[in-house]
Every structure is written in C-alpha cells, then in structure tokens.
C-alpha cells in the first residue's frame, strides 16, 4: 500500500484555506497548460470552469475579511498577501473561464495572462511549470 499526502504528525482535516490554495495551484497549472497549448478535452473543460468558479467565489469571501486571512496565512504558511493578490486571482479566474472557448486569446492577452501568473506564483511560491509539463506528457 502506498502512502501519499501529509505526514502522520501533520494529519488533520482540510480547512477552507487548504482547499483555496490547492484550487489556486490547480488553476495555475491549468493556465500554464493553456499557454503551452495543452489540448482541451471533454472532461477537462468542466474541471477548468468549476475550478475558476470556486476560486472566484472563495476570493470574494476572503476579500471581505482579508485582514483575518492575511494573519492566518502568515502564521500558517508564511505568505504575505494583500488585496492586490486577490484582484490578481480574480483576474486569473476571469481569464481561465475563456480557456474552454474556441476563440483565440491573442498575443497581448496571453502576455497579460503570463505576467499575472508570474505575479501570483511569486506570492504563493509555486510555478506550476513541472505539473503542466507532466499534463502535456500525459496527452
């Protein structure tokens, strides 16, 4: 039997912020995959839309109590988050919803997406590049 996930001493229930950051990382990978021309798929598109929707909803909730969130995240994860972070995440969710469209994004939008991704990744300390590459290999 293989074991994956938290170490025994760190096991606990998954809280809202755990899921938020997991979903945000997933959204980053989805965006990286899009920029790398990862082909959409019948089952991928709903996953992208749902992930973008859930992250957007969570971001709205967090914005109402950003100070609490910032305090908690600094304590638990060493992240320094500010309101612009949430605006960047919101922008990412809006752009991500267009990934499932067949409309071309255009050079400048792709560039804006890339810059936004870099900014978010700097804050959360996650690039998503290796995971996106693995997704492409699975294809």
């Amino acid at each position: 039997m293989i074991r994956i996930g938290a170490a025994p001493s760190e096991m606990r229930r998954m809280e809202t912020y755990d899921i938020f950051f997991c979903r945000l990382q997933l959204l980053v990978v989805m965006a990286r995959g899009y920029l790398a021309d990862c082909p959409p798929g019948e089952f991928r598109n709903p996953a992208i839309l749902n992930t973008a929707r859930r992250v957007a909803n969570d971001t709205v909730d967090w914005s109402g109590r950003v100070n609490n969130f910032r305090t908690e995240s600094e304590t638990k994860r060493g992240l320094k988050l500010d309101p612009t972070f949430f605006q960047k995440v919101k922008l990412l969710t809006v752009i991500a919803k267009s990934f499932t469209s067949s409309e071309p994004m255009g050079q400048f939008r792709r560039s804006a997406l890339d810059e936004n991704l870099e900014s978010i990744c700097d804050i959360i300390g996650f690039t998503g590049s290796s995971q996106a590459t693995r997704i492409l290999e699975i294809m």
Binding site: M1, I2, M14, T16, V29, A47, I138
Partner: protein
C-alpha cells in the same frame, strides 16, 4: 469541498470521467450496475458512511480495482492496510499528491476508464 477538488484535479489531469457519490449507498448502487471504474477514492472518516466497509466490498468482488482510503486520522492507515487498500491518501494533501497518485496507478495504463471519488 475536498471531494470536488479531487474530482476537478483528476478530471483535468487525466481528461477522463470522474464520478463522485454523496453517500455509500449511491456508490454501492453504481458498483452494482457493473461499473467500469479503475480506481476508487473512498473517504473513510465520514460520519454517515462506512468507507472501510465499502473498500472491503469492492476488493471482495473485484480485487483488481484500485482502492484508495482517504482520511485525516492517523489510525486509519493501519485499518486501510488491513482492508487491502492499495493506497492511503492522508489529509491534508495537495494537487501534487493527487497528480502523483494518478500517475502511480493510472497514467501508465493504456485503457481509458473512469475514476471515482467517493466522499
């Protein structure tokens, strides 16, 4: 919340259908209809279902099916091993853990199939 994240992550990674069930009964109904799923992720620390019992049922009827027990409780790992589960997914886990799990059990296999996340 966790279940939905698992479903979206695996569906995106594998581009396969991932089903989820709210209750053990729903999962049993699906299995009873002659399911084609390759892998089951079963929450074993829910209050209203017995995930271990479900794993036992699946393994008894189809030993080749892959069963992963998902829990936030340390003691459940031993129980999962006792039920012949193929894996233990310890909470909290992240996207990379799910990628690793799917790659370990599914990516190297060629035949398309469904994946299920239960609770």
């Amino acid at each position: 919340m966790t279940k939905e994240f698992v479903v979206d992550t695996l569906a995106y990674q594998l581009n396969r259908q991932v089903l989820s069930f709210a209750t053990e009964e729903e999962a049993r109904d699906y299995i009873g209809q002659g399911d084609s799923a390759q892998l089951f992720i079963v929450g074993v620390d829910g209050t209203d279902l017995d995930g271990f019992d479900l794993i036992g049922t699946i393994k008894q009827s189809s030993p080749a099916k892959i069963c992963i027990a998902m829990s936030a409780t340390v003691d459940h790992e031993q129980q999962a091993a006792g039920m012949s589960a193929d894996g233990f997914l310890a909470k909290p886990f992240g996207m990379a853990d799910l990628f690793e799990l799917a790659e370990h059990f599914l990516v190297e296999r060629d035949s398309p199939a469904e994946v299920e996340a239960e609770n």
